[in-house]
Each structure stands twice: as structure tokens, then as C-alpha cells.
Symmetry: D2
Subunit: 367 residues, 4 copies
């Protein structure tokens, strides 16, 4: 079973390490005839690119994507699309401090135990650098979505940093690109800036919650039991580095609701069902209702901090470690475009599955 | 792509509807030589069986499992195991009230839109009755786990109902089977009983949070990126009916932590790594550390309630609906054994994947 | 990875043993709205049923199929379809002669070596009885094909028994159901009858070649590299018990052709491409041309014969064995409906994959 | 469903076109700790490389492989291995002759019909150039096999060209690398040279049969029904460009045998089963016996020939075509290392599946 592949029909296999020559995504199953260029994909990679402001890692990567296969004269051919990104900033440094110690909260110890090999250069495969490949694949998925369902729109933003949560009454989606946090609430964004300045100075870090929505999705995406679209969104989001929780619609707080509060009532307008609320997150029985699909995920604080932490060496000796380097005080920020990419891949995949299984929606509502 | 199958090597395909002649699980990939009888599996089904107390649906099902294939002289042969459960209580009733209306919060409307066919008898495939098949498969997975990793132990319990959360300082795992809520905190269980009595009388329902832990797992289970064991746990739990959120370790609250708070420090005792805390939920970089694996999921309140809710008919006409019937005021209760079953299947699957990919752990820690 | 499942979107998992209580096929991914009844499927099972004439095993099985799930009011719902066949003629007999000996040419020795468990009752899972489940699944696939592509027609027949091959100039497809060999050449059928009478009397057996064609397939089925429709036909046919070779179009004899002989020239009539010949078997680059898809497979002689053969016991002692029992002198005969079923499943699966990946054919030929 | 991926655990996804910037194989699931360098893989690519003698295409490609990921300090890490080969000889030429015509026997017409896009530069994805990526992946598979089962040895050779077949009594495996045809019978190789000289001069081509054997395989590889190792070998070989038939052991000629002739008798020597013959090709019931695994496949004559053939244009107009260019008069020659690569990948995959499902063989034969 492939462990580096995501998706059923639109299948993305990412490859590459933090400090190897290159990384990328091998994307199979993209429909033919989708207009695509490296520039289209680069647009989304640039959103994720490190070093764009003082709140993200100062590693400098061009993150320039090359399309090595699967296109001809500016459109996809239906063949596998190879998206490659060269690593350029593999700063030569002294790893002697960490090569025999396991960084707490990192994959160092489990990779070593399982594989007996540890690529200590920046985390190797476990580095969040892998998410660049997902964003590239997501760029292709977005192009295919635009081709197949032009009304659909995918949008991610941060809704919580530490214990500071946005005020839903102040949300303005146009604010999202206006601050370094992809925050739709300008007032909260300002508060986060202060918090993050403090954390950065103290060499500490903090977690975050990101929300990703798909607006105007077709009804009917998803399938019962293990093919539920929420099941695939859950695995898509949980597979992102540092994610510890995933929610759909009301999410964990659904536990606190009563049945009368939770059930979104149904009406009918302009020939289509409408709903009084969206506790379901746009999904009933694993199948999209046509409402916005709403997912959220929590990103833990980066484990690379300046405070010394207790750990052990390969030899089993007790020691301490300080993780220096060019790290993000809130990795959640850069997870926003990654979450969008995973949503794009998941929805495209389900559009293809949908037409495989039913062709087009079989049931009609209305007179 | 199969939409009713879960797992990579140990693959469970469930089939059957709420009111058809039978339902079951076709389980492929179980190792040979695992001692198993119908009784072993029945033990777990009985935990989930409805009608055992006043807090669960009064539908009476024997839920008697038959093993139709894959065993010989009391052990598995390595061939597919067919686990069938006959439906016995398909109470003849009048569906005319609901056959043309969509119940809010249910899959009625999306199944109709997508498939153009609606099995209105108790929800058909979308009924939580499908989870009986999962519990049967989970029973087989537990038998295989006992055969392969006898120290491993899987345990589920409820930690929240509505806004009433257990007190972690009072947790006593021995209390779990002593109350109808699988609650490890006797005092909270008593409070829940009062709450649920009230809800049941008013025809209302409430959500819940279930925690499932795997104790004493081997280190090394899981793989990078899309093969992370937390990724598979997330999809396993999210695929359960009515689940809206999944957490690993610190879960959504990881967002509120700082890096110093979150990073579990590492020590070394008796030849094995030990950790100062378990915010990671036993998983680093997608691979088990050997600590307890800790997952939680939120179950929404059942949407079948006695209060009238606005909805529409197939013809698009506005109307109201009251969902009578034999329903659970808190479906979360019966989700406990289902969550255990999904954890058992996921962990067994990863044990098999692990030996496929690495044989046994390749790295050594210690002198 | 599931080892008892076939197909990508239309996925068939067979289960069950020769002498267990039942066997069947769990079919996932069938489109909704396909008219289907047990009688429709029974029609195809009856073609394969043993004991219908003196040339096939005298085991008496009703082979009555039950549909346990996935249909509602006479059509498929899009949910998994469970097709179960009860075993009825599990004649009680004395297995002491064979339970410790390995029958040459059978799977006895390899199953024992691998699994350490041997279901000696009629071969257990390795029995050709498993093919009943495939025929049932193929019956459902045929119903779906009729629904989606009514012009398509699948037909299998025997073209060789031992060294007696049909005369292609005498082929009359109407002859196929008129003789016990599904032979389209009446004169050869008569010759085979004589041969088989002799073999049966001497307790010997013989091999055969079966040809299966799909007439009037749409152009465009299949995909490059590992998704070629001929690749999937090859694995479909090779997975049938006792099959040792698979051919597409010219098959193995393509080796003897020159390029000028082999290349089917292309013309254009009535708005569609036509070909001067069909060495390609209806497939170019893995994708159907619209010509008949032509596959053949060789079935070895049944290894259950009355002549004593040398073998060993579990203890490694040299011995001899005579396989008594109710066996087919030419198992190839009953492989005809099985080959048809595999072709039906494969083509349906590719029709679904095709609409997933491209929707409908994207290229136009003509003015 | 991924259409460019092969394998269950050891998964190979090839990508790239004949005249794009590069092609390659993304290999997931390789066990960690396998010693590998670009040179090791280059050794196998050099066997397949065109232009090595007058009987293969004169296209000059360095076919130099780069390892972009998945290794660290000379061994595999267990992460995806990206093997990239730059295309260097994309000779600029005039395609106006063929860009609107479909070459008979090629995938031109079906790719156009299905995808609506035709990369006319050398066949694009349908070019046999794709097999370089398979050979690279096969080189990695061989390294893993050497690491896991050092006694296993994979060997391919040509046994038939046109109607000239080797004489099995003259076979000397040491002869294989001594002639340009990988032929184990020196006398037949000489005859083939004469035949091929004539064909090349006349601009014609011819088909061939290749045999690939795995010597000293462990017993127990493979699994019932759709996981049979012969099923996977069949699809592996049929997926190679221009292959029209696949055989295991006695192959198509099994049809001509009687049961007494076909059943390989079993003896016991040095603590292990031995067989009187190998009609089964080393596989019983889909599982390896420990004898040599023997497969053969037929390659059709290349369709690129100098004789004019009738065809049509995109507009549907009747025309003729002569396929000039640098082509192989017998593509079967260069299919030998490709067949070896597919066998290596398939066997490695089944070794990993075997340890997933049973760990190690569970049954014992002997006192």
C-alpha cells in the first residue's frame, strides 16, 4: 500500500526531503484538457513560500516549480503530471549538535526506531517542507476544478492563535490577504501580531486553528461509509504536519448541542434546497448538500524552540537540547495554503468519483 | 474505488441496510492461525446491542453473528472472513409520513439527490445499524491483535455529554462497564443519567465525546505523510455515523499551547524511551512512540427528535416533520464500542503494514 | 492490500470455500438505478452450474443466489450488493486418504506451506467452486452494462480442446448453446465429444482454450501503462483457476508476424473508423478502438485424475495418490461462463473509470 | 484509481513522455536500509539503452538516472525514491507528415479519441521510451531483492523471433549476453541475425517471445484469487508496450496436455519438496512452490515500418502513411530487460505482501 499517495482517482504522490536535491508531486488521474502552466501553480506556491514576513521561517527558498510531464501545448493530456521543486537553500551547517539527539515533539525518535536511518538534515522527509509539493498539486487541482466546476471556490484562513479566537461578527473575507496571518478579522489580526512578536523574542511558539471552506460545491459529492467526503477531508487535513484535530461544521462542539439546536432545517428557494443553518458543515451522511463545506484543523505549536528541553541520545543517555535554526513561531500561518490545497485535491477527487459512480445526480427535488 | 472498504492490508468491506435481510462485513487480509469463534465476536456485538437499557433505542435485535467463511477448525485460514448478521426486528410500520419528506440532519436528502433512490425504511444504508458490521470486524481484529501483540489493549469510554465533561482526576477505568454510559468517572455518570432522563422525556437528544485509547502499542506503527497512523485513525473515526470531529492527543486544544508546554520531554528507563507527558497522543511524525495512542471524537445529537422541524418534500413543498421511532437520546453511548472497533482495525492494519515495509523496527536506542 | 478483490471502481470481493456454509461476492461500486433481480443473476449461474451433462462434475449444487443488500424495489441503490450462494451438496465423505497427502497440480502443498492450515474438504478456497461467485458478480455487471451501453454484448466459447482446434471458417455463433462445449463449430464439437468420452473412461483429463469477445464496445476504454484494458483483462483471466496463458488479438502468434502483416489498416465509414483486420484484438495502446475486444485463455487439464501420481505426505514421506471424486474431465468447459463474467466486470469497471477520468471521449474524427 | 501505478506495497508510478524534458519512476514502499546508488541502477538501464547495436533504434539517449529522493548515505530510507532520466536526444524534426494522420498499430488514434489531445512527438506517453522508467524501478527492486533474498536471481532472454524458436536442448544461459538478442542458444542467435538483417533492409519488422525466470524463489509467495502471483505477473507483462500474450509455465500449450502429462509429481529431497517437472511454472494455486517461476510474453512486430499503410486523417480522409524514423526492427530485443524489471518488481512486491499477511511460512513439511 502506497504510503505517500493521497486520493482515489486524482492521486497525488509526494516525494523528496528537506535537504535533498529536489522534492515534488507525481499527480496521476488529472482529467485531460485542463489549461495549466508553471505560473498558475507558482501563484499558489508563492502564498506558502517561507521568508515573506517576520512571522515565518527565514529560510529562503525560491520554490520554483517545473512541470516535467503531462502537459502539451498548455493543457493537461490526462497523463501523470510531474511537479518538481528544486531545493536551493540547503544551508551548510553543523549538525553535530542534533545528529545523535532526538528533538522532543519531532519525528526524530520514531523515524529512527522504525527505519534505523535518520536524515538529520532539517528533518528529512518529516520536514514541513514536504507541504510545498502538496501546494503544487493543489494548484493543479484548482485549475481542474476551475475547468469542471467554475463556481466552486476554496478559501482558507486562520481563526484562532493560542487562546485568541476571531470574532465571527467581524469576519470580512476581503481582510484575509491583508495581514500576515490570513485572518478575516482585522482586529484579531492586530492582537495576534503583538502575541507573536513576544513569542518570537522569547524563542517560544504557539498553536493555531485554520478553517478551510469550499463555497458553492455541487450537491452529491461523497459516498456512504468509508467514501464520505468528510472522512477524506479528515484524513487530508490530519496528514498535514503538526495537525492534531480536525472538525467538520459544528465539530467537537457538536457534543454540546441538543438535537433541536443541531438539526439544520430545510427550505426550498429558486428550485433548490436551502438550510436555516450549517451545523453539518455542508455534509449529510457523507454527501455534500450544496451548502459551503466547512472544515477546521488545529496545528500544534512548532516543537523547535529556544528553551532547553530534556531528551535522550541514540545511546540512551539523558541530555538537553535547544533547537536553533530558522523556524516559524506559528507554523499554523503557513498551513493555511496547505489546507486549501488538501481541500482542493479532495473535492476534485470526489467530483471524479461522483461521475464514475453515478454520472450525474439521479434524484430531482421540486415540482 | 471502493467506497465501502476500510484498511490497507486488513480490509473491511461492510454491506447491508437497516431493513434488508442481513448486513455484514467481508474481512480480507486477516492473518492465518488466529483463534476465532462466533462467540468471541458476539461478545463485542453484545456491548453495542440496542435495547440494553433505557438510554438506547428500544429496537430489539439479536445481532447474532454467523461466520460464513475464512475459518477452519477454529482458526482463521488467511482467506476472507464473512461475518453476517441477520436483521430480525424489521418492524412493519407505516412509512407514508416520511417517505416523501427529508428528515433534517439525516442523509435522506443527499442520498436522494445523488442516487435517485431512497430506502426510507430506517435510513437504509445510512442507518447507524451499519456499525454492527464494524463491531463484528473489530472483534476479529481484536482476536488477531491478541494473537500478534498480546500486551496491546484497546479501550473506549465517554468523556463528555452535552457540556458535562468528566473530571480527569476521578477517572477509574474499572468504572467503565459499571454504568450505562461507559463513563470512567462515576460521579459524572450519575449527572449524565439525570440529564438524559430529562432529554428523553422531552424527546430531545444530545451530543457526546468519546475517547479511545490503545494501551501498550509497539513503537514504530505508521508511516510518513498519507500513511500516518493518526491520518488513518482520523478517517476511521470520522467515517462513523454522526461524528463531526476527531482529535489526537491534545487535539484541538493544541492550538492554545505554547511550544514549551506542548513538547513531551524524553527520558530513558528500563531500556526504553519514556515521556514526561503525552500531548502527542502517542504519535510523532505519524509513527507510534510506544506511549498510549489517544484519540477522541465528537458525536452530534441524534437528529431524530420529537420536536417538529421544518423541512421539504420531494416535490419541493415546505412542511414539518416529527421523527417518531425507537431512537437513542444520545447515540454517542453506542458509538463507544464502534470507536473501539475502528481503533482495533486501524492498529491491526498498521501492524501488518509495518511488517510489510520494515519487517521489524530497524533502529536501536540504548547502549 | 486486498487479495480477494478485483476491479477499481466496480469492485468484486469474493469469499467462501468449497465446503463451507456459503460463498458469495460482495460487489461495491455498482451504479444506482440498474434493474436487477435474483432471477437475472441466476440465469448466468445456471450456465456454469455443474452436473448439467456427462462432461462436467456430477456434484449437484442448486447454486441459488440470494441478494442480501444493495437493491430496493428492483433496482440497485449504489450501495454494496451482497450475492450469497449457499453450499448444499457438501457430501459427507472420508477425507483420510488425502488429508495428509498433497495432490500434484493442486494448491494443496502451497496453501499448506504458506498458511499452515489446509482445508482438505474439496480444496477449500482454492476450489473452482469460487468461480460461482464471479459468475454471480458478472451477472450484475452484465445488468449494469445493459443499462449503460445496451449495444455491448459479451460472448465466450471454446476454441480448442487438447490439440483439436475449431475451424474458423465454420464458426457459427448460434451453435454455441447447442452443444455441451460452448463450441461455435458443430463439427469440431462432435469430435471433442468422442475425445472426451475416451478421456472420461480412462480417468484422464485435457486442457482447453476459451475465447471471450466483447462486441460493440465503445472506443476509448482503458488508459495508458498500468491501466490498459488489456492489462486488466490479462489479470482477470489469469486469476481464474487453472489458467496458464492469456492472449489479446493475435496473442502469442503475434511473435510470428511481420510488421506489414500485423498492422491493421484504418479506413473511415459512416462517420467512424473501420479497420482492415483485428490483430490488435480491439485495443491500441491499452485503449479500445471500438472493434471487438478479443481475449483468449488456456485452461490446464484438471489435476484430479484416476491415474496414480507420485507425491509426498506432510511428514515428507514418498507416496502415491489417486484423486477420486466428482471432477470434470475438461474444466475448460465450465470456464466459459467464468471468462464471460470476468470480461463483463472488467469492461464495466473501465466504463466507470472512463467517465471518471475524461467524462466522455474528447477527440473527434471526421469532417 | 491510479492508472500509472503498479504494485501493492512496492508501488511504482512512472511518468513522462518521449519528447518531454524528462521521465522517471516514483517508487514508494521500498524497505529501508537497501544499499543503492545511481550506478547500480544505471547498470540495468545500460542493458536496455538504444543504439547499442545495429538491431535497435539509433536514437542516442544517455539514459542517465538521477536519484532525487529516498536515500541517505547510500541506503534507502523507506521514503519515496524518485528516479529521473533526462531526455537528451529530442531530435528536432518535421512532424507535419504525421501530426494529422494516425499510424496503424500505434496508439495515435485511441489517444486522440479518448483525450482529444495528441502529443505527436514520438508517441508521447505511449512511446516505448516509458519502459526506461520501469527498468530504473526494476534496478531498485533488484537491489532490495538482493538485500532480502540474496539467492533469488532474475533472468530474461529471447526464445522466439518470427517463427524461429530456440532449441531447448542447446540452451546455455551463459550465452545470453554474448549476442545482441539475449539468446541462450548461439546457433539460433546466428539465424536470427540473418533474418533481422533482411527485415531491416526491407524496412519491415518482426515479433518475438521473451522468457523471464526467477530462480530460487522462496515458496509461499502469492495469495488466492486476485492476489495470485501469476495474476500479477500477467498484468505486469501485459502492461509492457506491444505485448499481446502472457504465459506461465506450460502456457497456452497447457491446452494440449492431458492430466497425466501435466501434473508435476512431487518428491522430497534434502528436507524440501522437489518436482518431476515444471509445467506449473513454479506456481500452484497462485502461490510459488519454490521451483523456478517461469513466464513468457509475446511482443508484436513494431508498427513503424517503411511499407506504406492505409490510414485516415483527423478529418476522416483516407490516406497512406510511411513511418520513417529511428525504429527497432524487433522491439522484442529491448523488451528483455523490461520483462526482467517487471518480474523483479512483482516478486519484491509479493515478498512484502507475504510478510504482511503471514510473516513467514506457517506450514512445515517433513519429519
Amino acid at each position: 500500500m502506497s504510503m505517500n499517495t493521497f486520493g482515489h482517482i486524482f492521486r497525488v504522490t509526494t516525494w523528496g526531503e528537506s535537504h535533498g536535491p529536489a522534492l515534488g508531486a507525481t499527480v496521476d488521474g488529472c482529467p485531460p484538457g485542463v489549461p495549466i502552466t508553471a505560473e498558475t501553480i507558482q501563484h499558489w506556491l508563492d502564498k506558502r513560500k517561507p521568508g515573506q514576513n517576520k512571522y515565518t521561517t527565514q529560510r529562503r527558498e525560491a520554490d520554483a516549480v517545473e512541470i516535467l510531464s503531462g502537459t502539451f501545448e498548455g493543457v493537461t493530456t490526462g497523463m501523470p503530471v510531474q511537479l518538481m521543486i528544486r531545493n536551493t537553500d540547503q544551508r551548510s551547517k553543523d549538525y553535530s549538535e542534533i545528529m545523535d539527539k532526538f528533538r522532543p515533539g519531532h519525528a526524530d525518535i520514531t523515524y529512527w526506531q522504525k527505519y534505523g536511518i535518520r536524515d538529520y538534515r532539517g528533518g528529512g522527509r518529516s520536514s514541513a517542507r514536504e507541504t510545498a509539493a502538496r501546494v503544487a498539486a493543489g494548484g493543479l487541482a484548482r485549475a481542474a476544478l476551475k475547468h469542471l466546476t467554475p463556481d466552486l471556490n476554496i478559501l482558507g484562513y486562520m481563526v484562532q492563535m493560542g487562546d485568541q479566537t476571531i470574532d465571527r461578527s467581524r469576519v470580512d473575507l476581503d481582510q484575509i490577504p491583508e495581514n500576515p496571518f490570513w485572518c478575516p478579522d482585522a482586529q484579531t489580526a492586530a492582537a495576534w501580531a503583538t502575541t507573536l512578536d513576544d513569542l518570537r523574542k522569547s524563542g517560544n511558539s504557539v498553536g493555531a486553528v485554520i478553517e478551510v471552506i469550499a463555497r458553492n460545491p455541487p450537491a452529491g459529492l461523497g459516498a456512504p461509509i468509508y467514501g464520505k467526503i468528510d472522512t477524506d477531508i479528515a484524513s487530508a487535513m490530519m496528514s498535514i504536519n503538526a495537525v492534531k484535530g480536525v472538525e467538520i461544521g459544528a465539530g467537537m462542539s457538536a457534543a454540546t448541542l441538543t438535537g433541536t439546536q443541531n438539526a439544520d432545517e430545510i427550505g426550498f428557494e429558486d428550485g433548490t434546497p436551502v438550510y436555516s443553518s450549517n451545523h453539518a458543515g455542508g455534509i449529510l451522511g457523507g454527501i455534500s448538500t450544496g451548502q459551503d463545506i466547512v472544515a477546521r484543523f488545529a496545528v500544534k505549536p512548532t516543537s523547535s524552540i529556544l528553551a532547553p528541553r530534556k531528551t535522550i541520545t541514540k545511546a540512551g543517555d539523558q541530555t538537553e537540547i535547544i533547537t536553533k535554526g530558522r523556524h516559524d513561531p506559528c507554523v499554523g500561518i503557513r498551513a493555511v495554503p496547505v489546507g486549501e490545497a488538501m481541500m482542493a485535491c479532495t473535492i476534485l477527487d470526489h467530483i471524479l468519483l461522483h461521475r464514475a459512480h453515478v454520472g450525474e445526480n439521479q434524484g430531482k427535488i421540486g415540482p
